[in-house]
Amino acid sequence: MKPQLDHEAVRRILDTHGASRSSAIEGHLAQCAECRAYAAMLAQLRRRTWNPYHEARPARDERIVATDIARRLRRRRRFRWFLRRPAGRTVLAPVVALVVLVAAVVLTWRGQPVSAPQIAMDNVAPPASEAALAANVATVCDVVAPALGATDAPVTIIEFVDFQCPFCARHAAETMPALRESLIDSGQLRYVSYAFPVDRQHPEARLAALAAHCAGVQEAYWAMHKRLFATQALWSARGAAVAGAHFALVAAELGLDADRFEQCVQSQEASATVDAQIDAGLAYGVSRTPSFIVNGERLVVGAQSMDDFTAIVAQAAVDAKHASTQPFEMCNHE
């Protein structure tokens, strides 16, 4: 007697052979409602009527479209021809120089670490009122987030990072190791990480945030955090397909369960967690990354040097001595 086919074998055959089925397959389908549903889904896919655009036609007039494309084509060709000429290069050189200069100024303005006095004046928002603070802390506390350091540390800093942001990468590479060694491991600081992908500038940042969260589900958030920043140049601005493949590779390198990881990245739960982290940041007025909330009271914007962090934590520890409770004591930070 032939062994009975299992569900996986039946589905593999259905995947490959479609409508032409053997009697063994038909026998299995007669008894298995789930595989029947699977076969029906494949049949429905092949009928193509599920795609609302399978018979759609473009609305714009064909001649107008052809004329429009031809006009754009002529313009492109003229521009290319112009650039190949010495006069074109003469015009182009200052334009390129100007663009590079503007980009450099913007990048410097966004990412330059500021000195301690500047932090006090510019980069630290004033303490919120008590009511506003309570509301913000409640928003932040609802969110499950990965944390490092002792739960009873006098100071808690929440970082808001965008994994595609170069300044966050610099913070992770240059400041984070020292922060961990001198403040977190010594019990002075509890350090919590929230994702704050800025989609408008960084289309793959949200996917990276999901990957980091899903690594966290398998107890590897901080390892993934480090790897995503360290390998940023390999996946950033290369499209979702490249980024997705890279994150799966990193997950495999970290020894994560690939199926669980993939399912998690696509799950509504992971998406909701990242959204909740973004909402928490917005509640505090975060708009750029990296940003840091210190003891629920102060917002520090931009990458800081280790000296700045030492000063910020020391001041927050003094302030905390006068407070009766720690704002994040009861939070869901793990």
Binding site: R11, R12, D15, E34, A37, Y38, M41, L42, Q44, L45, R46, R48, T49, W50, N51, P52, Y53, H54, E55, A56, R57, P58, A59, R60, E62, V65, A66, D68, I69, A70, R72, L73, R74, R76, R77, D199, R200, P203, R206, G239, A240, A241, G244, A245, V265, Q266
Partner: protein, 181 residues
């Protein structure tokens, strides 16, 4: 007259190439772009960009090779760029609803097709696949292309196409089973 003949006879002016591509491939490219972008206006733009790119790079086209696959590759790449520009899936869905409502008297293609709940559920489930699996499913089923041609368009191996389809089938089945009461 086909493109190979135009090229061989030295009659492949910009206007002639554009006219030929618009007349013969615009509708197919539009259906592909609309299936990927789920937005008819974005699809029209993607098709125009595709034909413009193809005409600009016509010297890279090798006579006798698969013109349709070459155009579809360009179109898929334009659609990917367009998708990156779109903010989040949430925004895309909002746009879809807006498009579906904008001409109350005239049913959109979407409204005409999503008469059956099963079709609507499957369309929604395909939309929830990640980009690489969604593109493979759209090319295989919405455009009835063989796996070899999909491999050529997406510039991956035939085995990868099969493996993506295999994964996509299971994911779709799971999504549809979860959504069934």
């Amino acid at each position: 007259m086909n493109l190979d003949t135009l090229l061989a006879n030295g009659e492949a002016t910009d206007e002639a190439v554009v006219e030929y591509l618009v007349a013969n491939y615009r509708t197919g490219l539009f259906r592909l772009a609309a299936s990927i972008l789920r937005d008819v206006d974005d699809a029209e733009d993607a098709v125009q960009d595709t034909i413009l790119t193809a005409a600009l790079k016509i010297d890279q086209y090798r006579a006798g090779s698969n013109l349709k696959a070459w155009l579809y590759t360009i179109c898929v790449n334009h659609c990917r760029m367009q998708l990156r520009r779109q903010k989040r899936r949430r925004n895309r869905l909002e746009q879809q609803f807006r498009l579906a409502r904008r001409e109350p008297g005239t049913p959109t293609p979407e409204q005409m097709s999503i008469r059956s709940e099963a079709n609507a559920a499957l369309w929604e489930a395909v939309g929830r696949l990640n980009e690489k699996h969604r593109l493979t499913v759209i090319l295989r089923y919405a455009h009835n292309l063989p796996t070899g041609e999909i491999a050529e368009i997406l510039q991956i191996s035939d085995g990868t196409v099969r493996s993506r389809l295999h994964y996509a089938h299971r994911k779709l089945h799971r999504l549809l089973t979860e959504s069934t009461p």
